[in-house]
Amino acid sequence: MTDTPLLKVSGVSKFYGSRIGCKDVSFELWPGEVLAIVGESGSGKTTLLNCLSTRLMPTTGSVEYRMRDGNFRDLYHMSEAERRFLMRTDWGFVHQNPADGLRMTVSAGANVGERLMAVGDRHYGNIRATANDWLTRVEIGTDRIDDQPRAFSGGMRQRLQIARNLVTSPRLVFMDEPTGGLDVSVQARLLDLVRGLVNDLGLSAIVVTHDLAVARLLSHRMMVMKDGHVIEHGLTDRVLDDPREPYTQLLVSSILQV
């Protein structure tokens, strides 16, 4: 880890008219770190994630990102072309519903290869070899490379979406409920896979989830949100084992024990 953060968020607020989306959120994300944002539905997790990933313009505040050249740039002062380029090279975005992040009508290989072609790769053989490699890494059989994602199960689609995002070796990945809608055994395998990839590639990630188990397994640090405010912030193990805020205590005690 280096001694400068990757992402600096200061005073980000988003209002929907008079209603609060998220209010006055500030934090720093360091290289190789996984941050979980947890909270119940409607607590502003997704609004915050969208504000950070330039999908939604915040009302106030700034989000600065350290580019590969080492300089910090304010995301909302970049041109749209630069922002979109950043999103398809240095960043990844894993949607809760894989259909939002995949092209459902083109083959798995083309889904993985799209980012490569977008940054100028023009050699079919190389693109296909890279696609094959990535499918193997996310445990999808290489005989499925020419199948469309609509022929895939939910878990496979989610893994394909992850492969598609990681192929340009991004430094920062946003995940919105990556395990939502999957059954528990598939969830466990996916979490295992994501944890392995994050470790191997030294990725930074911001994971939005309402599932505290996901936060426990994946993240180093976590933020607890309620009604648009960050109410608790700390190391994952500290927050989960010794929650200070009454709401966090409620959240932790609500986990079902089998």
Binding site: R103, S107, G113, H123, Y124, D146
Partner: protein, 293 residues
């Protein structure tokens, strides 16, 4: 053919022509960029070349000589009716000879004979947006053009190779114009793509229903998209034209009987006739001559 009183010259009113000419000038200034224009209703259905007709009507003058082709042929319905239309509303000279024409309106072919400086080729375009079937949102495709995000176009070509072992797109094959805009060359066979590159003639594209005009100025680079290991190739024909014996031209297949008999003839009828006049004879023509004797 002298009674022009009921129509303005070339059917469109002068304000409309000015508007279309402005769009054309802008299109020429930004090669390959689709310029929106206020397409008018024309006395023919959409899909019959309303865009091409409006472009032709805006650039044609009394001195021009017009040629109209439809899939290479001068004598098919679309070509005949558009030619008659301009004879009626503009009283211009018409021809079927490529070299005599100053304006050639075309539906889906580029003449075999090399076009020269001063000639204008007007294409009838059904769908001007090369990204349309990959990205249905117009707002998004415009943004992609503006930001030069053309990765998706290669995704389509990748899919072709993955499923068919080669790039199987044979017409409306996407090209990059002057190193910037990706353009749909209208549904011409990819055989004609190389003719667009560094063409001496001005090429104008009109899409009436979609309300877009775009252009390739003379001597402009037009490159067909491909992969390094799967380069762009044009169609090849195993036999020459059955009537004129021409090789290296685009051929149409014609079914002769219900016993599998067929022949391949030039799609460009003017080129074929011209060759036959100059004594070239293909296999079928030679046989018929022998039979007659």
């Amino acid at each position: 053919m002298t009674d022009l009183a009921t129509y303005n010259f070339a059917y469109l009113d002068e304000q409309t022509k000015r508007m279309i000419r402005r769009a054309i000038l802008k299109a020429i200034a930004i090669p390959g960029y689709q310029v929106p224009f206020a397409s008018r209703e024309m006395p023919m259905p959409y899909g019959w070349g309303t865009g091409g007709v409006q472009v032709t009507a805006s650039i044609i003058g009394p001195e021009d000589v017009l040629k109209v082709i439809d899939q290479g042929a001068d004598d098919t319905t679309n070509a005949v009716s558009i030619r008659a239309f301009f004879q009626k509303v503009a009283n211009v000279a018409v021809t079927t000879h490529t070299k005599d024409a100053t304006i050639i309106q075309t539906r889906h072919r580029i003449p075999e004979q090399k076009l020269t400086e001063g000639q204008v080729l007007v294409y009838q375009v059904p769908i001007p947006e090369p990204l349309r079937f990959l990205e249905p949102r117009e707002t998004e495709t415009r943004k992609m053009h503006a930001l030069e995000e053309y990765g998706l176009m290669h995704v389509k070509l990748y899919e072709d190779i993955a499923h068919n072992g080669r790039i199987s797109k044979t017409y409306a094959y996407p090209v990059k114009v002057a190193g910037r805009y990706v353009m749909d060359p209208s549904p011409t066979p990819k055989f004609d793509n190389p003719k667009m590159h560094m063409s001496e003639a001005l090429q104008l594209f009109g899409a009436g229903r979609e309300k877009r005009i775009y252009a390739v100025p003379p001597y402009t680079e037009v490159v067909s998209l491909d992969f390094e290991d799967y380069p762009f190739e044009i169609q090849k024909f195993e036999q020459p034209c059955a009537l004129c014996g021409a090789q290296g031209v685009y051929l149409d297949e014609v079914v002769l009987d219900d016993k599998g008999g067929r022949m391949f003839v030039c799609s460009d009828t003017d080129h074929c006739e011209d060759r036959r006049e100059h004594g070239h004879a293909g296999e079928l023509l030679a046989q018929n001559k022998e039979a007659a004797e």
